[in-house]
Symmetry: D2
Subunit: 359 residues, 4 copies
């Protein structure tokens, strides 16, 4: 188990899906920074299930409590511990599965690794684990916004085979993203996506999708070659989110089909600074931010929990027919939006502190 | 600068492209493991430039020397330091560029981050930096092969728009991959790729591509949720390789277009162990290996150094026309094959030790 | 701020003296280990103030709550988060000091480092911070006891100028230590020490002391040369406890006055294993445990908070006369006993996991 | 094996006593810092054996070579790798010992831990391992001196039972220390010490001693509570040096005998800054430097290698009489002086970068 992320802006998350609480300790948060529970609750609410008919019914207030590190509305530079109680515990739903590892879940691998696993829910592999990330990410984002005016906006760019057209990343904003519960800022595509999810839900199936993200106003110089390059840290951060299958920065996989003459980003003067005319690099060159927007995309698989029956095997290798009960999301990408933003904020807050020590 | 990778099997690389030497220190290598320079040289030779007309002319023997950690052909459990001298230093080639940051290179970002950069070549952002990775990776691979019979094979699955058909990952072998200098195991595709690269070279341009990789015989249980999941560590490792733009595991981005009913991997008995009938998960579930082959793909952009002239700006923002001289690869993916294998070996050697402490 | 300790058995503590809660997250605790709040409460009670007239009056139940990582009385291998509420908040006591950094406290240095500090109490430099250490240490101790029968016993070997005679470390036990509130297992010395503390208290002064510790049944092989040698990790751990000024292992400073012929520990057969006839090494050679008891001593300064008036300067450099109010311990070493034990357990649990991965 | 030290100013050492080379990689060294081999050679020469009749005859030039990270006399911000060849290899001397673990050496524990050990010399537990530390320390010291004018001076304050009188730490300088080969700045004591060492040598015995150290001009604010407090990092660093048995900061063990009223350091105005009238704290309060000189002491045991015969047991537990051959120091503390300085510089360079990121 490795529940700590970051070198200087370091977070440690804890909590199972159906235990007493989930939460996080943020160690290394700069001092004298305004911070209150209200700054954190907003992103938690965006992550919360039960926001629309499209997501799971599990309804938990997910109210965050700051346990330490803040006094009179200012951070002390000491660890900021935050906790969210688990109110809605329904261990019963999963009991019948105990000897059947759910396909494409973590039941089998946790059992193989630890020789034990949480009796109910996904334990630590549950989406509920991401609450600590989102709470910590809100703190990181606050630091980045206060210091450089950094803006991080993620959105749903694909649901199943429905893809949104290329967006205007300069203008992209959270209010625009939140206009629809599906969190695709392109209205017509959002509607098509919503229908696709509804159709998947009605057939007791699930759908994958893609979350795109832009980070604006990052200062140049962030990223620590050769192993902690900015895109490498983003890649680790994103692939650590449950259900992710891929990451690409800038031109991504599409860039592999291009020629150098078309892919190179020529430099141009942009006011006082040097910028690039195109941004196939995705705001990062040689592992270091160049001052252009950082743009990346994350692929999410369709949720493994589906209503329809599945033919599989139990832990003894005997064929069984599995029918899932309980709550499940037919599509997680809308709720993944604040999680992707949180992980991006955590990566850049850490890289920013690591670079700051050099100036 | 962060040149250390790994928690228990920990490597630290060093060296600029045109300095005295490049190399690596491997700390945490298990003791009593047979190891000699011959075990390492093979992969270094596969990485070496000048293997065919398709790659750069820079010809260096790249002979590795083990400086410590091995006695009488066995590792001592102490740091294994390895060094490769830089023989072919041609600083002159790059002198005319000194005030012009090369487009999509690291000149600009290194200058912004450090306020200084290597006068010639890419310095630390050069492909030559990967020598230390490949040497260390050979040690890691040796450990994995000795202990579990792990086999790691990477190959070129796409060059520009030329894509190889879906391969038989069970049978994939390094000899099959090395049959052609382009390192695509599908002969007809290899020929088409070779022509594409030749054509790019003739037009003073460059081409990107994709390297695929399979890791067989990994024991189940490797990967440390929630932040050091196996796919997250692979993603960081791969995106830390120069010129990479994307990573996907198992179904990858394609998986985002699927439905859960088609994407879930049903369990089936495989001899004594539980396996999966399909492998959309790519051998990893919940961040932990499940015993199936780990399969992933890495996207490489076209090399930034091209022969044709480019319109760009110098450090002062003034428009200039840049013409590169010196040696350059029109396509790096064939040489990236052993680098991808090395980084995969380093990830799994570290995760294996982290898991072993639990048994 | 660096509130994380350990590489594999990793703890992160949080909490200020007068905030909402203090606590700890233990990440890397082995799975399937019996654990309940009762296993932890015992050491917390030994650390708790208000156990006798010799210690501060601050009376808090210090009841620990396990928030995660344990199910049905067994650890899951996931993070064990533990929290203790702060009930007894008396911020008023310290208000008059706000512009006067207390001599030999951390007020001045926290202010210089963070530009802010907790308004009341010592914040993070308070002895209350050690609650998280003791809770985590109880988990570590449980792991070491279950696996190797490790026994860790600390005791008060000096208070001020009163020193206990050389003890029988083989027979030393916690019940023997706890026979008197001063926690010196030698009854006559305990009485003298108790008088010395009472006398210091009556003169509104404070006393330092020494805590000794023995760790029995540790397997040989623990310790990671060259920087994480067992004695080096112990030294860091002990010097990170508030109010400590020195650490010595085995012969310690006295060993520096000896000759090699007298200091060397000759090997002798001890049953099946090789032992040493003497133990000037303190159970560690070359940074690695040798199977003999690990013995070390930790020096504590007299508490900085004293009742008598002190001439000092305020933050502006102006001379002031400071008179402390509120609760204070005239001597902290009795309560430091479980803290020293906890830190020793944390060091060896981590080194044990780091060594286990090698076997 | 853990051969890496530091979080941001991070070093990794390598090399056995009789292998091909010993050395170090310094990762995280600030860029644009003047650095040449001459800056490093001086301290290596002070560490080198064969400086006087008092130390071992092993004569090696110990010439350092910078392999990377420096160009045109300036650091690039990239890893600075440094190597020193092992010229004087005498494996034969130790051959007869192969089945006898030398008392109070690391032969037994390395064998137990790794199941193998270097056939000759101490391998990684040899004093020769410290070459990498001293080379890296010289780089760290250069950074601290350039940035804040930090001065670090260590000296021999005791040899066996001969103790030097309390020195003037404000005036202490390396030239004063180096006036005698014993490196005690008090001339008469130096003479007595020299006689004591000669007498130990003549009786084929060895002597321990104490190295004291002062670090002046450190800025306030260095140290990362709660686990990486400045004194905790110093303690780890010093106890990781071969042959050390104890560490104390400021008043140290003596402080444990004092009363708070005498031990507290009252604040006084010192020019513009706040200082303390006394310095029992040793320049560190709450784990953070306060701007006063940091003063500490390190105890060294007598070298384990002695000429006189010793009764011990072989690996099978059979009694044997061991007579050592080869070179040995009767007293290592004079040569330990630059090692202590190096480790202090490494601790403060790292803490300085960790604090800088906050400003």
């Amino acid at each position: 188990m490795s529940s700590t992320f970051g070198t200087l802006f370091k977070i440690t998350t804890f909590g199972e899906s159906h235990g007493r609480a989930v939460g996080v300790v943020v160690d290394g948060c700069p001092p004298r920074m305004p911070l209150s529970e209200a700054d954190i609750q907003g992103q938690l609410d965006r992550r919360r299930p039960g926001q629309s008919k499209l997501t799971t019914d599990r309804d938990e207030a997910d109210r965050v409590t700051i346990l330490s590190g803040v006094e009179n509305g200012l951070t002390l530079g000491t660890p900021v511990a935050m906790s969210v109680a688990n109110r809605d515990q329904r261990p019963g739903d999963y009991k019948t599965m105990s000897n059947i590892p759910r396909p494409s879940h973590a039941d089998y691998t946790y059992q193989m690794k630890y020789g034990i696993r949480a009796a109910s829910g996904g334990g630590r592999s549950s989406a509920r684990e991401t609450i600590g990330r989102v709470a910590a990410g809100a703190v990181a984002e606050s630091f980045l916004a206060n210091t450089w005016g950094v803006e991080i906006v993620a959105w749903v760019s694909a649901v199943g085979e429905v893809q949104a057209p290329e967006p205007d990343t300069e203008a992209m904003s959270r209010p625009a993203v939140d206009k629809t519960p599906i969190r695709c800022p392109h209205p017509e595509t959002a509607e098509t996506m919503t229908h696709a999810v509804a159709q998947a839900r009605d057939t007791a199936d699930s759908l994958g999708g893609i979350v795109s993200c832009v980070c604006r106003n990052l200062p140049p110089g962030l990223g620590e070659p050769v192993f902690d390059k900015a895109e490498a840290m983003l890649a680790q951060a994103m692939l650590s989110i449950p259900a992710t299958k891929g990451f690409e920065i800038g031109s991504g996989f599409c860039g592999s089909t291009m020629r150098g003459s078309g892919h190179n980003d020529p430099f141009v003067a942009k006011g006082k600074r040097l910028g690039t005319a195109t941004n196939f690099s995705g705001g990062i060159q040689g592992g270091i931010t160049n001052g252009e927007p950082v743009i990346f995309r994350v692929a999410f698989k369709p949720p493994a929990t589906i209503g329809m029956a599945q033919e599989t095997a139990d832990f003894n290798g005997l064929p069984v027919r599995l029918e899932a009960k309980g709550r499940h999301d037919p599509c997680v990408v809308p709720r993944a939006v604040p999680i992707v933003e949180a992980m991006a904020a955590l990566v850049f807050a850490d890289l920013a502190l690591r670079q700051k020590m050099r100036s």
